[in-house]
């Protein structure tokens, strides 16, 4: 690599100086014309030649350029840079060390149990912190190992302290019998189709049902006498009505890529994301390319794509279409809904640049859900059911 020097030639006869330099075949870069001088870059090995042929001119070396300048600066500030690196490494080291593990629970037994379990898995004081995924794995392992003692477990990293929050599992004496269940209505609606796999259908096509009504009965009866109890299974679809109130903004922003982009670097810690270089793009979309991860700190290259944002406004018709599409999208996220039967805009008005609407929607939806019951309770309450009470559903 060529070693360039930035020099100043103090002269008012700039053209003479340049012609002389040209005659002696000196490579010159970045010539800047000043009022009484010329600033230019020449190769270091040409300096002697320049001084010899331009003996009548006053020449001073201003600086070095490129990597040599960087090298010189680094050498000059070596103590500061070494201290900075050392400080950074110490900070990284210390911020990734656990100094205390707090198990938050009233029971000493649970606290000791978890402390030992975590110690076995390398989570103890004066050790390095682990990543989020590793903590997740440890939680799962401990929950699996002590499934009869631990209901819920959370590891919360608070600086250099690890807080373990735990909920003890309390096992009740009574057992719910998961072999006996009804299918009940989760919503009110008119039955459109019913498919029974197990149990007795209690409703028919076009019947109106209310929330909580039994759709498929798990009790197999003959002449009002329960012969068998099963866990009812099947699908029950009903026409369910919804009235949706929505407010859709008419103003929106549209972003368009300009084609200009810049590289940048980011460092992401548990707390914050730091951008290393000053961003030269005002409005941007960022694409992140992860490089490596050290002590839970992620280093990444980011590509900043410049965008131009323009403010636009929907017409009332466009807003109506967009709002309806949004409602459809949200309804389709509910996988119980099979199809939208009908919809009608009941009311619409524009307030403060928002389109406010009331929409009526009728959908075909699976409304059946399981509800377990115990046979003992059923037998206890048989008399009640005969007297018009409920039939023992929990």
């Amino acid at each position: 690599m060529k070693h360039y020097l930035k020099i100043r030639i103090n002269t008012k006869r700039k053209t003479d100086a340049l012609l002389k330099l040209n005659k002696v075949k000196v490579d010159i870069k970045n010539i800047i014309y000043m009022s009484d001088s010329l600033i230019l870059e020449i190769e270091k090995e040409d300096l002697k030649k320049v001084k010899k042929y331009l003996a009548s001119f006053k020449i001073e070396i201003l600086d070095e350029t490129g990597l040599y300048k960087a090298k010189k600066e680094i050498k000059k500030n070596s103590l500061f840079i070494i201290s900075l690196i050392f400080g950074l490494l110490t900070f990284l080291l210390l911020s990734n060390v656990i100094i205390k593990v707090n198990v938050i629970h009233n029971s000493k037994e649970i606290r000791d149990l978890l402390t030992d379990a975590l110690k076995e898995r390398g989570v103890t004081s004066l050790t390095f912190k682990k990543s989020y995924d590793e903590y997740e794995q440890i939680i799962e392992e401990i929950k699996a190992e002590y499934k009869d003692k631990i209901e819920w477990l959370e590891i919360d990293v608070d600086g250099m302290i690890i807080n373990i929050r735990v909920e003890e599992r309390i096992i009740n004496d009574y057992d719910t019998n998961y072999n006996t269940c009804h299918i009940i209505a989760s919503k009110s609606g008119t039955i459109t189709s019913i498919r029974v796999e197990k149990g007795i259908a209690e409703v028919t096509h076009n019947a109106y049902v209310n929330t909580g009504d039994i759709l498929i009965n798990g009790m197999i009866k003959l002449n009002d006498e329960v012969k068998n109890n099963v866990c009812a299974a099947g699908e029950v679809y009903a026409e369910v009505w919804y009235q949706v109130n929505t407010s859709f903004p008419l103003n929106y922003e549209e972003q368009e890529l300009t084609g200009k982009w810049r590289f940048n670097f980011t460092v992401t810690t548990n707390i914050k994301e730091y951008t290393i270089l000053k961003s030269r793009v005002k409005e941007k979309i960022i694409k992140k390319i992860p490089l490596f991860k050290v002590f839970g700190i992620e280093f990444a290259i980011t590509k900043e794509y410049e965008v131009i944002t323009t403010n636009k406004k929907y017409t009332e018709e466009e807003a109506l279409i967009k709002a309806t599409e949004l409602i459809h999208e949200k309804l389709q996220m509910n996988n119980q809904i099979e199809e939208i039967i009908t919809e009608k805009v009941l009311k619409k008005s524009i307030n403060n640049d928002n389109l406010d609407m009331d929409i009526f929607i009728a959908v075909n939806e699976q409304i059946g859900k399981r509800e377990y019951y115990t046979i003992e309770m059923e037998s206890d309450t048989n008399d009640e059911s005969n007297n018009g009470g409920n039939n023992g559903v929990n």
Partner: protein, 80 residues
């Protein structure tokens, strides 16, 4: 820039190139800088002398083979 030019020269085997940009002139493979002022620059090329006339003409960079001239160029002539 030089790598591209060298490659171009190798592939096309030309004796010289003259590229004109906005307020900028790049001459590759000139033989000599004959005269230089803020209004006139004369370059010697293989087959002719290139005379550039304009205002505030300055040289931004030069070496044995190429030269980059900045300024408002009004006129260019070939003197054979």
């Amino acid at each position: 820039m030089r790598i591209v030019k060298n490659l171009q020269n190798f592939l096309l085997d030309q004796d010289y190139y003259i590229d004109i940009f906005k307020n900028c002139l790049h001459v590759y493979y000139y033989l000599d800088l004959v005269s230089l002022s803020s209004t006139l620059i004369e370059l010697k090329l293989k087959e002719f002398n290139l005379i550039i006339e304009g205002e505030n003409l300055t040289i931004s960079a030069m070496d044995n083979h190429e030269i980059l001239i900045n300024g408002l160029i009004n006129n260019m002539r070939f003197n054979r």
